[in-house]
């Protein structure tokens, strides 16, 4: 069971503001709330994975803070930035497992214009394909000894880049063309209101999310 998409977005936006203004204690609180947020939706594996990463890095960062060498302090700075992004990733992870249909229906309810929704629909669909394509290209690059994993190829980074981008562009051009052709045969530009299988409604379960949002807001005062 997952929370109302609208509330999830509210959570994400609030969280993205908070992680940059709260202190370390506050940040830990935000991470714990994000952990509860995932847990209450049954995303147990994800929840534990992220919270362990968060506190692991936190311990490292505290350790580095006491280190006397300045090089490590720079490292610590990078670590702190990463640390601040983790609660955000946690909330986003919950949106990531939503079926795209539900996500789009939720955004529609938020009165997001149709043209943006359309772009989002195609983009969401396209990213996994793109990852797939890149994997295929990497494989064939490996077979020809052009792989990015081989350090010798980094002597000519531009050529390396070209060998990645040329096949990717060729494939993408064709896929985009096919995708949009198929979309237009399925009425994507039909006028009038589009409907969805998902009814976005506030349910009792969503009260949990409201409480979590309240809590996350309260972490500002920690």
């Amino acid at each position: 069971m997952n929370f109302d998409v609208r509330l999830q977005f509210a959570m994400l936006i609030l969280c993205s503001i908070l992680v940059f203004i709260v202190g370390t204690t506050g940040l830990s609180a935000v991470a714990v709330i994000a952990f509860l947020f995932l847990l209450s939706q049954g995303l147990i594996k994800q929840a534990f994975k992220w919270i362990i990463i968060f506190f692991g890095l936190l311990v490292c960062s505290v350790g580095l803070f006491h280190a006397p060498w300045s090089v490590l302090n720079y490292l610590n700075f990078i670590l702190l930035i990463i640390l601040r992004f983790i609660p955000l990733l946690m909330v986003a992870a919950s949106l990531g497992v939503l079926p795209t249909g539900e996500l789009v229906a939720g955004l529609k309810k938020l009165k997001i214009p149709e043209s943006i929704l359309l772009t989002l629909t195609v983009a969401l669909r396209f990213f996994p394909i793109l990852m797939d394509e890149i994997k295929m290209i990497n494989d064939s690059a490996y077979l020809r000894g052009l792989s990015v994993r081989d350090w010798r190829n980094w002597k000519h980074p531009l050529i390396l880049f070209e060998h990645m981008i040329v096949p990717l562009l060729m494939r993408t051009l064709k896929l985009v063309d096919d995708l949009s052709a198929s979309a237009s045969t399925r009425g994507i530009d039909a006028p009038g209101e589009k409907t969805s299988l998902y009814q976005i409604k506030f349910r009792q379960f969503d009260v949990v999310n409201v409480i979590l949002i309240g809590l996350i807001g309260a972490s500002l005062f920690l």
Binding site: P99, T100, G101, E102, T121, V122, L124, R125, P128, I129, D132, E133, M136, I137, D139, S140, A141, Y142, L143, R144, G145, L146, E162, H163, V166, P167, M170, R171, K174, L175, D178, L179, S180, A181, S182, A183, S184, T185, R186, G187, I188, D189, A190, P191, G192, E193, K194, T195, S196, L197, Q199
Partner: protein
């Protein structure tokens, strides 16, 4: 239902793809359009589902009418309510992440009510036995399941006409059989169906008429009975694939007698990280010099895993892989074998045929001479300055083969080299394989194509759940047995 009157069409800036097409398709009729690659089949389907002239620009003359209405006056989205389309590559026709969303996508675009949507959804899920897959991610489905979803998604809108462009191109024989049953069911419901296809055997009891095209024109019309009665010579002349599974090319004559081994695999096991079951278990396989081995089995049986392990793309858990009787560690394997992927676009990295073949080779008199000879043998010399992306499918495939030959590899692995090819090009690939064999390469072919196995392979190796369950000479197998092995896993 569909009437085409003196229809001609050329894509923008290109020569005419369709010339003077006249065709009347009645309600409830199933028409198959066939002909060699580039004959205009796909273009003709695009004219019928309105993509031409609404999506693909170009010059369209003549009249195209669907239900007596000119398609030019109909907006494309409205045509979509009457004409359902299914395309070749499932990858390029899905818009959502899970099966139920995908099925609802079309109806949602037309603003159907939630009640109506759920009612039809459960009907279609039941009818297409997709109930178990309702919440599954589309990315995880097999190609057969994906194509079932594509047909089901078209059904949701309840169109009267179905237009399909090579729906079986990516399917194995079992999934093709499923496709046949789906088509029969649609036909029973009185739907009008138009299919552009190379594979004809599964359509003989679905089709009412077969339209044969050549160079943008309709040359001939025949019934399935006439097609089945064609002699092998006539089929070869038309460049068609065999319409029946019971006879056709079979029993390869030249059986490999070489004893020199190109590839030896001993007790190979492979397990993916986080997988409970090993992907390959205790596989033993030999490929001799000049031997052609077909690797068959259903998707997920381990064919691709085996090929990828041989190339070194995946590491083995245990076992050895030896080339020319010498065990080779994973990192050096790619230098000894070459993998021709199903989609060769991924394997071309440079801006001309010549640069492609010379990539990774120092420019010396010896390499240039060898490259020139190879390109001439592969009939690519005349186009050596062209961009690889501008080549035809067959030319790309030959170029990728050439890249492998340039490396002087001992083993060639071909992944589905004949998917989506017509009879004429199938023969060309078979000739190409014979040529490879004459060079002394060992050849391993992953395939679902019974005509390729019967026409070019010395031995058939069948995998199930990561284990070899059949390893037989093709000449010992009757065509019917072969077909049976390839249809039943």
């Amino acid at each position: 239902m569909i009437t085409l009157n003196h229809v001609s069409f050329g894509y923008q800036g290109q020569s005419k793809q369709l010339k003077e097409i006249n065709l009347k398709i009645k309600e409830g009729e199933c028409v198959v359009i066939t002909g060699s690659s580039g004959c205009g089949k796909t273009t003709l389907t695009r004219v019928m589902n309105g993509l031409i002239p609404h999506f693909y620009e170009g010059e369209l003359t003549g009249n195209v009418a669907i239900k007596d209405q000119d398609t030019r006056q109909w907006p494309l989205w409205k045509i979509g309510q009457t004409v359902g389309s299914v395309f070749q590559d499932p990858k390029s026709q899905f818009f959502t992440s899970i099966v139920r969303d995908e099925l609802a996508f079309g109806m949602g675009n037309y603003g159907a009510s939630l009640n109506e949507m759920s009612r039809r959804l459960s009907g279609v899920l039941e009818n297409r036995s997709l109930r178990d897959l309702e919440y599954r991610s589309l990315m995880q489905l097999s190609s057969g399941q994906k194509q079932s979803v594509a047909v089901a998604a078209a059904e949701m809108v309840q169109p009267d006409i179905y237009i399909m462009d090579e729906p079986s191109a990516n399917l194995d024989m079992k999934a093709t059989e499923q496709m046949r049953r789906m088509l029969l069911q649609l036909k029973e419901q009185g739907k009008t169906i138009v299919i552009a296809e190379h594979r004809l055997y599964y359509l003989t009891d679905v089709a009412d008429r077969i339209v044969y095209m050549e160079d943008g024109r309709i040359i001939d019309l025949f019934t399935p009975e006439q097609l089945i009665a064609f002699s092998d010579e006539k089929l070869a002349e038309l460049g068609l694939r065999g319409p029946v599974l019971t006879h056709g090319r079979s029993g390869r004559a030249g059986i490999c007698k070489e004893s020199e081994q190109r590839l030896n695999i001993r007790n190979l096991s492979v397990q993916y990280r986080r997988a409970k079951q090993p992907a390959l278990r205790d596989v033993n396989l030999n490929v001799a010099k000049g031997e052609v081995v077909a690797l068959i089995g259903k998707n997920g049986a381990g064919k691709t895993t085996l090929a990828r392990t041989i190339c070194g793309l995946i590491g083995e858990k245990c076992g050895t892989i030896a080339f020319n009787a010498q065990s080779v560690p994973r990192k050096r394997r790619r230098q000894q074998c070459w993998f021709v992927m199903q989609d060769t676009v991924y394997q071309l990295f440079t801006d001309s045929v010549w640069n492609e073949i010379m990539l990774n080779h120092p420019v010396t008199a010896e390499t240039t001479a060898r490259a020139e000879l190879l390109l001439k043998q592969l009939h690519l010399w005349a186009i050596k300055d062209r961009h690889p992306a501008s080549l035809s499918g067959g030319q790309k495939q030959r170029l990728v083969l050439g890249v492998g030959l340039m490396q002087q590899t001992d083993l060639m692995i071909l992944d589905e080299p004949t998917s989506g090819l017509d009879g004429k090009n199938l023969c060309r690939v078979i000739d190409q394989i014979k040529d490879l064999r004459a060079r002394g390469c060992g050849i391993l072919i992953i395939t679902h194509d019974h005509e390729l196995v019967a026409g070019a392979c010395d031995r058939v190796v069948k995998l199930r759940d990561g284990q070899i369950i059949l390893n037989k000479k093709t000449s010992d197998l009757k065509l019917a047995t072969l077909v049976h092995e390839m249809t039943n896993y």
